[in-house]
Assembly symmetry: none
Homo-oligomer: 153 residues x 2
Amino acid sequence: MGNLADFIEQYLRNILLTQRKVELQRRELAKMFRCAPSQINYVLETRFTFEKGYLVESKRGGGGFIRITLVPQDNGDFVQTVESLIPEKLDAEVVEDVLEKLAAWELLDSTDVVLCRELFNKYFSDLHGESAAILRAKLVKAIILVIGFKNKE
Amino acid sequence: MGNLADFIEQYLRNILLTQRKVELQRRELAKMFRCAPSQINYVLETRFTFEKGYLVESKRGGGGFIRITLVPQDNGDFVQTVESLIPEKLDAEVVEDVLEKLAAWELLDSTDVVLCRELFNKYFSDLHGESAAILRAKLVKAIILVIGFKNKE
DNA sequence: GCACCTCTGACCTTTTCTGACTTTATTGTA
DNA sequence: TACAATAAAGTCAGAAAAGGTCAGAGGTGC
């Protein structure tokens, strides 16, 4: 956690902790962090994506601005979300994709992802046969749910 | 016990004696031990594996890092206990007994037990066939590991 | 001598960051 | 009103700053 992008991200997320929108000027923010204005775009593109739950709007010209809006997370049922994000059947090669998707949705952090991956290698890498894909999906779901539950505790 | 890899391992384990995570830069560590950066990877690959109770994450690019996290496992007798309490094969009717035993040993709290039970009902009540019992055992172990990991976080 | 563990260096990939150039919007002015 | 000046933000190629990979050289013990 030592680079500029992370700090800027932190700054913005902090604001979004108390407000649903931030509106600011790219130029000002860049000045604040003593960086090139295009750095701000980099942060927005890599950290404040729709996948992660943000909407970014902007306007050029005089009175221009950048606005970030928090997308209301359908914060309903964690179980629902996991169910909808993970298909009924899961081939081994797809497990990694699913983990990344869950990370993008910030349902898992990076350490959780590594933990899941390792658990799979250790215990469930040799699943085969008829219903392996179904079973794999269930296993992933179960483990994700445990992690998710614990993350909220 | 005299080669570089051992010294680097020692150094890192020492830190992990007092912290559950180390985060450092490969370049810096290599400089410290006057070796090639790739030597660090060798140490990580041979000494800090999941099997041995570690999770390793890393990030490239500016502000990159390597992070090692201790999985509660070989320290104390967590895995020993888990391994001895959970047999290789687990019949469905025995799952509940195992959960209770784990609770008695305070490896799970009462909430964890309910969580496990529900997950089993939801996803794995219909396991059958040859290897169901083995799978059931692995699953319980995996879940216990997650819970143990998360409880320490 | 063979098998296995260490270790390095050359080359690769990913992530961050900047600067030059482009596009768009507003404002002031003839 | 048309047009120039000004004030934003956007784009993108490429430099810089990490870490990753892998073949093969060098040890060590049997």
